[in-house]
Symmetry: C5
Subunit: 344 residues, 5 copies
């Protein structure tokens, strides 16, 4: 977020810096030709005619560069602020004929239980599209390859379709994240059935946090994609609508899965607590059985360890053996009793 | 789902393959005649005039076959993609005058606690209907028999009514699934009242997961059937509406039952934990009673097992018997006390 | 429900049969006259002119009889199916100028904790009304008496008012059911404060199930009565609206009470678990106190029960008494300590 | 509620009777004059011209009196029924140009944890207003004083403003009730931090019930006041709207507070259970420490209490002292171990 | 709140008094000039022409002063009441062409876990704006500095933009509050993983209360800002809308975060209870192991401490050593058994 007290529209990068110098890539394409170029900083911002101009900007700390884009494409200061403050909720906004979209790109490292989040900002008009992100990851490689391959719908469409394709790719990754979380949940379930320990409950706990973090990205995305599908801006062609509605279905499905997984994690939490309770019951049963058998026996032998002058049983010839027999009988009776109560 | 990065509309079967070769069945019928034929692959796709053409396709891995249907019936690429990616949410969509529906067919094996799910895709226009599924199960046998029996409403209606009849049959099976789950819940309740063990809580846990999986299918189906009932496409006759609304009522009732069963399972979970707590209380009561009675006694006999030179009681004539009497009195007092506290 | 695979509109009674032969009652009335007649089967279905014709049908297994009604009054097959399949959700439907309503009649046996449910189907047009139920209970006795008493609004109104009066009577019984459940909840609370046992938690559990079952009937009823109050069919007079809205208020109040009672039952469940925890704490405190006092004492007397040749204390003149004094002192100290910690 | 089976609109008082004879008060006022009179029964019901006629009726068992009002002011029978059946949900209804409102007056006795509820029914037209309640409490004293004081807005307004003022006073009392509940919650929190006992959990339990009861009154009141603020009846002046909307804000705030307090009580319940768990842990730690230290020692002294002929250690000169030393060493080692594990 | 029974619109300060004398500041500004002046009481209320008049009022106990504002700016009595009763819900209201907004300013002292709340009331028309608060904190310092700096949008806009800027600053502080709460949650998580104690659960408990208090402020604020963004009053310029919508996004994000943090705190509560359960399991395991090993051994040595005349084993030459061997063997067997069961 911006510093408290700073006026709205203050341009200042507030995230963590990942890149030394910005990486810029410009892809100009139409149905006939593709032209990809990489720049380190001084990218020309004049739009080429007769083709789609895609600027892929990585590295946001260079505020001057972002401001150049702002001036050239006449971007509202609040949009520039949102691009630089990289903890926005996903959203869809129209500014005149241009469209501004924020999405979270998520990846999951199932082994270390780490969920990485990156804000992707997309701004497009009728013949240009700009994407902003801080990290160097080539998030859009698959989309660019499809453009360069020259086949398919993407070359013959407008920037709105490209924006759709980018978001679609990001949303596809969400399914991968959910698969990773599901795999971790299965590990946890096995752990609970085996030997639940301190780590088990922390795993449950961290998976819950992951889902909460993911939900924070997906819930507003649902709304944003819904607005995209109903958008009547000139920059969005009617024929893109059916694709965006399909995307909307995917986002809904992800939202459903997140809720389902949260319920499943609560189920695992319950299972874990039940397991602990059951285990405690079993341990205390053992304790009680041992105590109930040996404490009376110990008392009995204590009796005959007393030093009273007058204890007739001590002088019986078979007193000792009678007592041993009595103790065996008592033990058997208790064992029978516990067996009956199904404690053993 | 499609591979991440693959362009939307990529045709590729992503589910688990169940059939070696596709099984195809064509049923052409009108009020007068029925003609059922089975094909293994080279099914003629030209529509017969003056009758309803129903293609029942089982086995989806043969993408070329699906594409032939796509070209012949002019199906949108996203529809074909949804047919092949067999983990879609149930939905209802109109494409021009044609209608596309996805439903989940569920069966439950109550003995092994297994819920099987199969995606059924239905695509119909004014005089044809195509159903797609991967597995070889003859899901629509009952509907086909009604057609072949020649009686009833089904022969005189359009594909929309047939689509309704198919979904109605699938939804009827949901009640069977719920009956199976209810039977399992009753088993669990008996187990809890008898002797709750490790399996009890895993049964509760798995039943919860089943209901979550089922809800994932039913919630979107509710929406889809709602759209069907309000649909104004040419492919849907007005007089079908009353039937679809009846179907809608059934789906609502299933959704209600799922919620009710979830609440009941939470109740069983509470019952299980209460039972464990109560059992623990009882065990610890036993332990405490035994300890409270015997530990002081053992102490007393220990006292008179000491070897001090000067212990007058040891030399009393009836010292031993006095002590025995004292111990009996103490034990009776404790038993009375516990009885009073209702611990015994 | 109907058998899976059976075509919609199949007439087949699927509930549990309670009556040998159907009981039929026809009440024809207008403001001047009342004419009640009972039939066992061959009831004349021609409507009398100038009066309201009320057919009260008990016993549904005689499908032919139901079909006669269907033909005579031109009832849609799906309505007949709903009448015979006696596990429908409450609902309100218009068929042309006729109206079809399903309600659940509930009674509660608080002593045995049994909730009985019976489906009541009501079908009425401008001058006739038919009520269907399976059991022989004279559910509508109170309403019929009011008609026969000849006083009041009911004689001068149309079937819509009679339908309202019937549902109003059924809903009034719901309050009785809730009173019964409330009484049982108070018993449970007393049990928890007294001596909670295995039955306590099963009572809580069963009351929860009762409320879930009741909610399953009331939630759709709310919707149905809401539709009734907004209904613009010719069969419903405007002046009935104010009564139906009053009924709607009652249904809402019942729905509120059910939610409140569910929250209260959850509160009782919490109370029960708290009570068990507290009780466990107390038991373990007793155990710990006994152990902490006697185990060290037992150790001390064990020391002087050893047989070492050289144990000077044994030969002190007052060794035994010193030790007794020491043990008394230790015990007092421990008791003081526990008192201080408020364990005793 | 009315007796089940009684026709709707049956006039019968079903609450608990609090008054021997009804208390009636008539306040006629306009901007110039006020005239308050008290009657025990035979109150004249003819309206005075040129002023507001306020009838304050306390005591509802005299059905004939209520019926006189009904006839004189042409009140719908269902309204009279609602007045007499004193367990209605709060509501707002228009009957022609007249308005009928039901509100619950709540008072809280924080010392005895008692929530008292009284149904207030308000019926007003263009120049009269009637208020009905069963108990003798002078609920409207403050409002009447403001009228008699002759200052302020209330003298120059219509009955709608008076109705607003009455409800506003009742809602103001809700804040007092909530303050009482909050004070009790703070007591409970202190109890938990001190020494939680059986009463603590019952206090939590009863506070929950109070909030549930209060919510039952407030939720429908919100709806009723909302309708009041949007009401377009002739009996409600436009300029009253801004006051009713302010009242609406208060009701919303109360509803918010109730939800917040419920969450806080759940928090206290959790805190209580955590406290019990922690306490149990501590008790069992003490038990385990005592056992772990003394049981092995007792075993050791038991060894040298045996009477074998050949036990060399017994005859060592310093055997006894070696053993004492060993036992001291073991005890210190265990204490060190427990300190290390932070158990002591 | 106002005293129960006081007429609506009664002017009386009901909060806690923080200031001896009110502090008043008047800032008159337009694009060219700024004029800030401080007054202790007798502030001139005549509006300067051609500029925005901002009155910043701190200290509300001086009712006469508030009434002067009320008369001069023609403020509705209910607004004055809301300003003085400083526990209102945040809200947005239009009075003719003027706008009245209530917001809560929150600050968090993470070290002492204290959340401070202050009601800010904002009233503005076309060329004036008045802000009211009780405490002396210079809440609007940052905004005033931006005005005095003379740069930026704020100087060229109307009071609506200034109101937006003030609320935006307050909302920015909410993120700081949430950061503080998040830091405290992380401390709690570390405590749980280390050594959970009595304070841990109270910290969880207090953080829950903080979030509940915060939610009470944020939920109505969401609604209020939503109304602001849709407001069509003359006092609100169209171009301010885009800024207010941005603010709305921030408020939504805060509401999301609060819900997420509440879920996380529930997760921490679960984690804490799991940790206690696990710890209890471990302690009881230790107890059971010690008991299971030593109680039988103690029994065995007790046997040979008995004084029967005829106990042959006592006279065996190596009886003592045989027994020692047996006891070692038994101990090893038990240790092996526990290792096997993974208890050690």
């Amino acid at each position: 977020m911006k510093r408290p007290g700073a006026p709205p529209g203050t341009l200042e990068f507030t995230g963590e810096r990942h890149l030394e110098t910005p990486m810029l890539m410009r892809v100009n394409f139409n149905q006939e030709t593709v032209d990809s170029q990489t720049f380190s900083n001084h990218v020309p911002l004049e739009l080429a005619e007769g083709c789609i101009n895609w600027y892929d900007v990585r590295g946001l700390h260079d505020v001057a560069l972002i401001e150049r884009f702002g001036q050239q494409f006449n971007i509202h200061p609040l949009v520039l602020e949102d691009i630089l403050h990289t903890q926005q909720r996903p959203k869809f906004e129209e500014y005149g004929n241009d469209v501004f979209i924020i999405v979270s790109s998520l990846t999951y490292d199932g082994f270390n239980h780490e969920l990485n989040e990156e804000q992707i900002a997309i701004y497009f008009g009728e013949n240009f599209i700009i994407t902003f992100q801080e990290k160097a990851d080539d998030t859009f490689a698959a989309v660019r390859e499809r453009i360069e391959a020259g086949s398919g719908r993407i070359r013959s469409r407008k920037p709105d379709y490209l924006a759709y394709a980018i978001i679609d790719g990001i949303v596809d990754n969400y399914f991968g994240v959910l698969d990773g979380i599901e795999a971790n949940m299965e590990e946890v379930e096995l752990e609970i059935q085996g030997r639940p320990n301190r780590e088990t409950k922390e795993n449950i706990h961290h998976l819950k946090f992951k889902l909460l973090a993911m939900r924070k990205s997906v819930m507003p995305l649902r709304e944003a994609v819904g607005k995209f599908s109903r958008c009547e801006s000139q920059a969005v062609e009617g024929s893109t609508g059916v694709f965006v509605r399909d995307l909307y279905d995917h986002v809904i499905r992800i939202a459903d899965l997140i809720e389902t997984y949260r319920d499943m994690l609560n189920g695992l939490q319950d299972l874990y607590l039940s397991e602990l309770s059951l285990r405690m019951n079993n341990i205390i049963q053992v304790l009680t059985i041992i105590t109930t058998i040996f404490v009376p026996l110990t008392f009995m032998v204590g009796v005959y360890g007393m030093n009273f002058d007058n204890m007739p049983e001590l002088h019986w010839k078979y007193g000792y053996f009678y007592l041993l027999g009595l103790m065996v009988a008592l033990t058997l009776a208790l064992i029978y009793y516990f067996k009956n109560k199904k404690w053993i």
